[in-house]
């Protein structure tokens, strides 16, 4: 009986894993096919010979090396700032008692419900016209230096750090500032890494805003590069998939590196809901 359970579990999990991974498989094999092989019947599972030149062709369409560097700068920039602003805000919401705390928090939470697509026109004016940041990497970072969603997540985590630690630190003569950095932050390490990764991934994939706020190739990011492969009457699927693979490959590496923290961090942040 026990073995039957085991076998069923393995079969179900394996089937699930195939479902989860199949789109990746399709994208990666697709990036090695010819244009016609992608839509061919019967299905071409593994292209022989593999069209490695799709990658070289895709890379020629746009300066992906510059894009890559910019994407790293922007992703790291937003991630570091999001972490800092979230740490401050989550600390205030979880440890400091102040008038209007719940009201402010509810208002912030409710803004999660706005479809962000309708905000960008106004934000364009703010950043490009008022702040005069058009065509700078800073413009790609500034609007994303704070995130309600991550403040919410981090607050959940901070709330789980026993309040007594805070009181103990107070009695020990610790300032709020020092407490935050010496006690809260080290204890929330996993959550912070997870939030950082979430934000990094989101920033890495961001498309419309970077496009709006940049004109020079020297200021653009990877996801804009994906747009080169779709025309008004068709799409170069094989090149798009190659470019898509190029874009997510760094994320894949980062993910495998930080995997342990993601699982733990999500866990913690989810526990209290």
């Amino acid at each position: 009986m026990k073995n039957v359970y085991k076998i069923i579990t393995y079969i179900l999990l394996a089937a699930g894993a195939v479902i989860m991974l199949f789109p990746f498989f399709w994208m990666i094999t697709g990036s090695l096919k010819t244009y016609n092989q992608i839509t061919a019947t019967p299905i071409v599972w593994w292209p022989v010979p593999a069209q490695w030149n799709n990658y070289t062709t895709a890379l020629e369409y746009a300066p992906f090396d510059i894009y890559f560097i910019n994407t790293v700068i922007v992703s790291v920039g937003t991630t570091v700032s999001v972490l800092i602003t979230s740490i401050f805000a989550a600390f205030a919401f979880s440890r400091l008692k102040f008038r209007g705390r719940d009201t402010i928090f509810s208002i912030l939470l409710s803004t999660l419900m706005i479809p962000s697509q309708i905000l960008i026109i106004t934000n364009y004016v703010t950043v490009a016209v008022r702040m005069q940041l058009m065509d700078t990497l800073l413009a790609l970072i500034i609007p994303f230096t704070a995130s309600i969603f991550y403040i919410y997540l981090l607050r959940e985590f901070f709330n789980q750090i026993p309040e007594q630690l805070y009181l103990a630190a107070k009695v020990d003569g610790t300032s709020d500032w020092r407490y935050l950095w010496k006690i809260m932050v080290p204890n929330a390490k996993n959550a912070l890494i997870t939030i950082g990764l979430f934000n990094f991934i989101a920033s890495w994939n961001a498309y419309i805003w970077p496009l709006l706020l940049t004109n020079s190739e020297s200021k653009r990011v990877l996801s804009i590069g994906l747009k080169y492969f779709s025309g008004e009457a068709g799409t170069d699927y094989e090149l798009l998939m190659a470019a898509g693979t190029i874009v997510i490959a760094p994320l894949l590496v980062i993910y495998l590196f930080f995997r342990r923290y993601i699982v733990e961090g999500v866990a913690r942040s989810g526990i209290k809901g």
């Binding site: 016609n36 839509t39 490009a128 016209v129 496009l211 004109n215 080169y228």
Partner: protein
């Protein structure tokens, strides 16, 4: 297919080289129009200082982007004013539109950009769009052989509320009938030229294939074109819906009969018929000439023909236009020089040979290099696409709601094709949804 692309590219490079070579001899040519200056003292145009830089926002990715870069590079090298155009890819049309809507709120705007006429009409609200009549028809700087520009294009670009030109044709395409020549030859089929022939050939080919033989890429184009081919009307410039008519019903019914009879189909999930066409799942389809780059297979030869007509010879013109944004007098004049350059016969031909688009002038297709290119047989659409009479061209009337109406008729075709509604219901509902 790869070979053809490479071949085309090689050819293009050769041509640029030869253009550049002969251009050096004739670089004085534009000077010949200069004497006109003294003839019209009313307008005093500034001189364009060397080093003027123009921004050009476009939506041409991939091979089209490369072709545009080629033409822009040619301009930067050859223009007598020392103007440099910086062309920037801004994503797809939707992205570019989003970007323009944003930028026109007071941000940095380019000197020239690309857009569909209905969007340009929206930009007019910003008061930042330059009315071009005073440039086009100016005796000094204007376009002399104006009539050479294809009639349909001229009409579309002056179809704004005040009847003035706010744009000029840039990347234009039209629809052709693509067909699998190998299949047609093997089965002794003739390329259809009328609806009835289209129906007969499709039925015959479908018998052989065991699946629908003919497809139509753009269902809104289908509705707009076939309604008018059937003698009906679509909308007028006031935005009045005119397609709630027997002709529209007849046209749509003709298509739906084919879908239900199993010999016509839509692109549907494939988005474009080129995919199933390449896979030999259908043997002919009506699609944009700009899609020709996506067609090709190692297993068969393809060709293109004029679209089959109904009672009236009508064919849609597609693609977008270029428009000028306000800057200073010098910038605007320089921009106009660039626009003129893009529309010059040899340049629009160069553009057409390297991109998915067609020349905007009748004379361009007579140019030896273009003739040679067409005869090389690299891309039959480059020939077919230029064969339509300028008067056959139809276009979306330019008014704010034209997009919504296009969406509504596309939905109507889909509703009828998927059996959600009858042809009559679909058309009635589409008309009602707009008023």
């Amino acid at each position: 297919m790869k070979m053809k692309k490479i071949l085309a590219l090689l050819l293009a490079v050769l041509m640029v080289a030869s253009f550049a070579a002969c251009k050096t001899d004739t670089s004085e040519e534009p000077e010949s129009s200069k004497p006109a200056e003294s003839m019209d003292p009313l307008k005093e145009w500034p001189s364009i200082p060397a080093g003027t830089v123009l921004q050009f926002w476009h939506a041409m990715g991939g091979a089209n982007g490369a072709a545009l870069d080629l033409v822009v590079a040619k301009f930067n090298e050859e223009n007598e004013f020392g103007i440099t155009v910086e062309a920037t890819f801004q994503g797809g049309y939707t992205d570019l539109h989003t970007k323009l809507v944003s930028a026109l709120q007071g941000g940095d705007i380019p000197h020239i950009a690309q857009a569909y006429a209905n969007n340009i009409m929206v930009y007019l609200d910003s008061d930042s769009i330059v009315q071009l009549d005073e440039y086009i028809f100016d005796p000094q700087v204007g376009i002399e052989d104006w009539e050479d520009i294809i009639q349909g294009y001229r009409e579309e670009n002056s179809n704004y509320p005040d009847g003035k030109f706010y744009s000029l044709p840039f990347n234009k395409s039209t629809e052709v009938l693509y067909y699998n020549e190998t299949f047609f030859n093997a089965n002794n089929l003739t390329v259809p030229t009328t609806w009835e022939e289209l129906k007969d050939v499709s039925m015959e080919a479908s018998e052989i294939l065991g699946k629908p033989a003919f497809g139509y890429d753009s269902l809104s184009n289908l509705f707009i074109t076939w309604t008018q081919q059937a003698g009906g009307q679509y909308t007028n410039n006031n935005g009045d819906v005119l397609f709630n008519s027997p002709e529209a019903r007849e046209a749509l019914q003709f298509f739906i009969d084919g879908v239900e009879g199993g010999y016509f189909r839509t692109a549907g999930e494939d988005n474009y018929c080129s995919g199933p066409f390449n896979d030999e799942n259908l043997v002919m389809f009506i699609g944009s000439t700009s899609g020709s780059a996506y067609i090709g297979s190692d297993t068969f030869e393809w060709n293109a023909a004029m679209v089959p007509f109904g009672k009236v010879e009508k064919v849609i013109q597609q693609g977008s236009n270029m428009f000028m944004l306000k800057s200073d007098e010098v910038g605007q004049l320089a921009t106009f020089e660039f626009m003129k350059f893009l529309m010059a016969p040899e340049n629009t031909a160069l553009w057409a040979m390297n991109s998915g688009y067609l020349p905007v002038r009748d004379s361009a297709r007579e140019l030896p290099e273009y003739v040679e290119f067409v005869e090389s047989g690299v891309n039959p659409t480059k020939d077919i696409g230029t064969m339509y009479d300028g008067a056959w061209y139809i276009y979306d009337p330019v008014f704010k709601e034209s997009y919504s109406i296009r969406m509504a008729v596309e939905k109507a075709v889909e509703e009828a094709a998927t059996g959600l509604k009858t042809v009559d219901e679909a058309i009635t509902d589409a008309a009602a949804s707009i008023n």
